[in-house]
């Protein structure tokens, strides 16, 4: 009940925090995960390359 009153009194805060902030946080997490995955994969490839060179 209190949320209903709060959202009607603060519609823009409700919209920003509830939808836009969540959406942009999701985008930021997705980008961070892809960047991290790339770092890890590049590291693996470099290790494989080094191991091959040492053989």
């Amino acid at each position: 009940m209190s949320l209903d009153i709060w959202m009607r009194e603060n519609p823009l805060t409700y919209i920003w925090v509830g939808s836009y902030a969540v959406a942009f946080a999701i985008f930021a997490i997705e980008i961070a995960m892809v960047v991290h995955k790339r770092k890890i994969t590049l590291q693996q490839v470099r290790l494989m390359r080094e191991a091959e060179e040492n053989e």
Binding site: L12, Y14, V34
Partner: protein, 245 residues
């Protein structure tokens, strides 16, 4: 000068091309997000009936449209991979799936946030909402099925079948508001015209373009990771400048 597009259907040639394209898509997306939010929150007026709450549509509608289109793109790539046995198509399908799932989630989440003040409920088992939820499950099913099979080529084929069969859900989502008596409203923008304020339209289409460019940029980033991972035993990968660093 004619461009040989088939040249870019090989991971070897697509990998550097994707690397060059990513910054352009990412920067354009960031600019369009800023412009779209400015128009949506500063220029566009409040709605006569919904007040400020309608402003959720500037993220809700683009997310919903993109979640459906990305599914068709994913299914298209998966079908190409299945029919022609092309490696890059299957890699693209795998790269698009997580982004599509996130857009479907954002669509459902923002829809629930709009539903509470407008309908008085976070969720109703309405045809449009339920079919969009099924779309999210199809994306998750595709990702889970692909991850559960160790051999990537076999995983590609199995997940492709699920993607192709699941694509029947996309027209169901789109036409659900016409076929059934739903609580969810129909399209506001039609071929015959619209009653929307011009600034609202501008904000919505700008945000749609921004979301599209974001989706392309992140899918290209992810497909580069997939190419690196799957082709790591090949000579061309070990000769890449970023690997030699």
């Amino acid at each position: 000068m004619a461009i040989n597009w088939f040249k870019y259907s090989a991971p070897t040639t697509f990998y550097p091309l994707a690397g060059k394209l990513i910054p352009w898509f990412a920067i354009s997306s960031a600019i369009l997000f800023a412009v779209g939010l400015y128009i949506g929150f500063v220029v566009a007026p409040a709605d006569a009936q919904q007040g400020e709450f309608y402003r959720i549509i500037f993220i809700h509608v683009p997310s919903s449209i993109i979640s459906m289109f990305l599914y068709l793109i994913m299914a298209g790539y998966a079908a190409l991979g299945l029919i022609f046995n092309t490696r890059l198509s299957s890699m693209m399908a795998s790269a698009v799936a997580p982004t599509g799932a996130l857009f479907a989630f954002i669509s459902l989440w923002t829809g629930a946030l709009w539903g509470k003040p407008m309908w008085g409920a976070w969720w109703v088992w309405d045809a449009r909402l339920t079919s969009e939820l099924i779309l999210l499950f199809l994306y998750l099913g595709f990702i889970a099925l692909h991850a559960s099979i160790d051999d990537p080529r076999r995983a590609d084929r199995a997940a492709a079948l699920l993607a192709i069969v699941g694509s029947v859900n996309v027209p169901i989502i789109y036409f659900s508001v016409k076929w059934w008596n739903t609580l969810h409203q129909g399209s506001t923008i039609k071929y015959s015209g619209t009653s929307m304020h011009i600034a609202m339209q501008q904000a919505m289409f700008t945000m749609l373009a921004a979301c599209w460019l974001y989706a392309i940029a992140i899918a290209l980033m992810r497909v580069r990771c997939i190419i690196l991972e799957r082709e790591k035993n090949t000579k061309w990968i070990t000769e890449l400048a970023e690997v030699k660093k």
